[in-house]
Every structure is written in C-alpha cells, then in structure tokens.
Subunit: 256 residues, 2 copies
C-alpha cells in the first residue's frame, strides 16, 4: 500500500509499521573539505531533524534504514552501518514534535500512534555529496546539508545521535577503509587524505599517509596523472573493489 497523502499516513501508519521502534539515519557528505549532515526542516521552521522513519511490520530493520535512505536521497547500495540504539524514555512526544504534527493535520489526536514512545536504531552512511539530490518528504519543509560545527536547533535527542555517529565512525576508521562512496572513480591521494583529515578533525602527515594507504593494498595506481592544477601532477588512484570490501569485513591495520 502506497501512502499518497499525509492523511493516509496518519490513519494507516499503525497498521503498516511496528510500534515503538524507529530508525534514524545520520547521512554524512562532503563539500569543500567539510563534513556535512543531511537534515530535514520541520514545518515549525526553526527546528531540524534527522531523516528517520518507521519499520514495516515484515521488514528487516536494515532494510528499513536503506529504504529511508533511498527515499531521502535517491541513493542505492550504500554502506549503512548500524551504530547504536537510543532508548531514553523521554525521547519522544515532545512539544516541538506535537506542534509540527498538529500543523500537518488539524484533526491530529494527542494520543496518536506517532506520539507513543519510540526506541530508535541509529545508522550512519557516508555518501558522495555530488550524487545526492536531497528532496524533502511530505511532512518536511526542506532537506539540506548542514555543517557539523554549525548545526541548527535539533529535534529531541538528534544532536546526541549525530555526535555518537561521528564518534563511532571515527573509531571504525581505524579498522575499516572509507571513501568508496565519497570519491569519484579516480582520485588523487590528496583527495583521500582530505577525507580522513575531515572525518578525524586533524591534519595527517602527507608522506606517512601515502605509505600507510599504499601498504594497505586497497588502492590501484593508474598510469594517468591528474592534470589541471598547477605544480607537479599527482598519480590517480582507484579503489580495488575486491580488496576494499574484503578489508571492510576483515579489517585493516592498526589505523591512525
């Protein structure tokens, strides 16, 4: 059943979705060497929220997260990582949410299904900024990237969820390779280093970064060189798909 209107969602949600369980996706993207996060603007205007959703009654929570990611960004086959589940009792049914829902539906019931307490499962994803065409869902005003250090006011505990996602991603960075969804097919070592520096929030030594990445074996060096910039032309690299995904599961070296 396709929900084509807000009214239909409000009247049928309890039949289609699991109660008490929700998903929140923290979708990171890059732009101008800054880490961005995708947020939706509530109808109250001043408050933003993570792109989240509910779990179909016969749907795997991982599938629900992927579906929600696709609904918001149009992206498929992205590595979505479950990172934590948030279960404070007071995290739902707050004033801002109630206000937003009332603005969407005049006949909104204060005991409505969506205002019950939800435990939310957090997932994060890293996507290539250029590949994403953010479009808001039916219940939001806008969908836009925000700098991590200039976040707007956020709904409920969403600031905490973003912080935890970032912490977990930094931890995983030492074990898992990163960048597959963030870079074009061919890229320079400097591009890759920028991503690591942005995620980690600190500068890395260029020479040591080179050595480490090359020894990990997940990169293939091309014969071509990058041209266009001034100064010496760097090599171009691509990810070795096979080794990259092997490293995703079995782990890399000891990290940074």
């Amino acid at each position: 059943m396709k929900l084509s209107s807000i009214e239909e969602f409000f009247s049928h949600a309890h039949q289609l979705y699991l109660p008490a369980v929700s998903i929140d996706n923290v979708i990171f993207g890059f732009h101008e060497n800054q880490l961005k996060v995708l947020l939706l603007q509530l109808v109250n205007k001043s408050v933003w929220a993570l792109p989240g959703g509910f779990v179909g009654k016969s749907e795997h929570i991982d599938e629900a997260a992927a579906r929600i990611l696709k609904e918001r960004t149009g992206l498929n086959d992205i590595f979505l990582q479950q990172f934590y589940t948030f279960g404070q009792p007071e995290r739902s049914n707050n004033k801002i949410l109630v206000k937003a829902l009332q603005m969407l539906n005049q006949e909104f019931d204060k005991d409505h299904w969506v205002l019950q307490r939800f435990v939310t499962v957090g997932y994060y994803a890293l996507v290539e900024y250029a590949n994403v065409n953010p479009h808001p869902d039916e219940v939001s005003l806008a969908c836009a990237w925000h700098d991590l250090d200039k976040l707007p006011e956020l709904l409920m505990d969403h600031a905490e969820i973003i912080k935890k996602a970032l912490d977990e991603m930094r931890l995983k960075l030492s074990v898992q390779p990163i960048g597959y969804n963030l870079l074009p097919k061919e890229f320079t070592m400097k591009n890759l280093q920028s991503i690591y520096e942005t995620i980690l929030g600190r500068k890395l030594d260029r020479a040591n970064f080179n050595r480490k990445m090359l020894s990990s074996g997940i990169l293939d060096r091309k014969e071509k060189h990058y041209s266009g910039g001034a100064h010496k032309a760097p090599y171009l690299y691509s990810f070795n798909r096979k080794k990259y995904f092997k490293a995703l599961s079995s782990g890399l070296g000891r990290g940074f």
Copy 2:
C-alpha cells in the same frame, strides 16, 4: 505493580511494557578457564534461551537491561555494554516459543502480545562466576551456565546473538580493560592472563602480557605474594579503580 503470577504477566504485560522492543542479555562468566554463558531452560526442556525481557513503558533500555540482569543473577553495578540490535522480521513467533507459552498458560491466545514481532537490543556483561547465584524466573525450568563451545539448542536467533556478543567483546578487548567483575580484589598476573586467553580463544606470551599490562598502568602491585601453590610465589595485583575506569572510557593502547 508487581506481577506475582504467570497469569498476571500474560494479562498485564501489554499495559506495562513497550511493544515490539525486547532486551537480551548475554552474560559471560568464568569457570575453570572456560567462558560460560548464562541460559534459561524453556518449559519444552530441550531448548534454552538468553535471559531477556521487556522494557517498561517509562524505563530506559539500559535500565531495563540492568533490571533483567539483576532478576536473573542478583548482581548490581555490573558494566553492561549495549552491542547490537537485532531486527530480522522472522525472529519472533516461532513454533518452539508458541509451544512453551501454551504449556505455561492453557488459555493462551495465538495472537497474544508476547507473540508479536520484537526487535531486540543486545547487551553483554562479564561477571565473576562465584558471585552469581543463578535462579530461573517463573517461566523457565532452570537457569544454568553453558560452555560456549557446547551450547544446547537455542531459541530463535539466540545463537547468532551470542556469537555477535563474543565478537564485539573481543574487539573491545583491545580498547577497554577487562576483568574487574571477573576477579577477586587481589589476583595474580596469571589469573588475569587466563581471562584474556579465554576470551580471545588463544594463548598469549607470558612475558609480553606482563609487560603490556604493567605499562597500561591500571594495576597496583601489592607487597604480598600469593602463597599456597607450589613453586615461586607470584606477586598479587589489584585493579586501580580510578585508572581502570578512566581507561574504560578513554581507551587503552593498541591491544592484542
């Protein structure tokens, strides 16, 4: 409200607990250098299950996990680590569970609240074997420790949950200290090494283990020596509470 009977539980559970969300605790304990896991025997006899439970409508999921741990083991103030959330759609309402519930309650309804689909949040704990006095709850026949390599038939996806808990615990071992709940106040380096070897499932070099643990700074060496065994008397150590818990949050070295 205290549920004093099975009938009360079946008739009031839906009023007291969140729907669709459950907790499963993987409680590891030591005995004779073997890692054990605490399991409950269903009334069907041949099948065992993790000590799990439900989340009170106004209860934090972490509190629910701690309450369930206490109900099963009598233990307080144990470091409980959330490690993963399991959300396959087919994980609930299986034949074995239905049978068990029917045996407990003749008038059991096939559409009962407890047979809805549940997403379960996994926690693990490490406890001192001797401190635990396992006692089964009202709906189980027995509560007992099982060797990890000789597990009985398990309910639903509980085997997968245990495997994931062990994997995550091994990963965390390189970042977090371990053993606080597993050893008496004073212990020998060999005691501690046994724990690491048991959890990791492989032997470690004695001299190198010594060096690493001492350099981490979380141990205080006592003047006393252990006496009782044959041969040279080893030093006794205790955990430095302050440094231990600091290391729990900020991390140790690079691990094993």
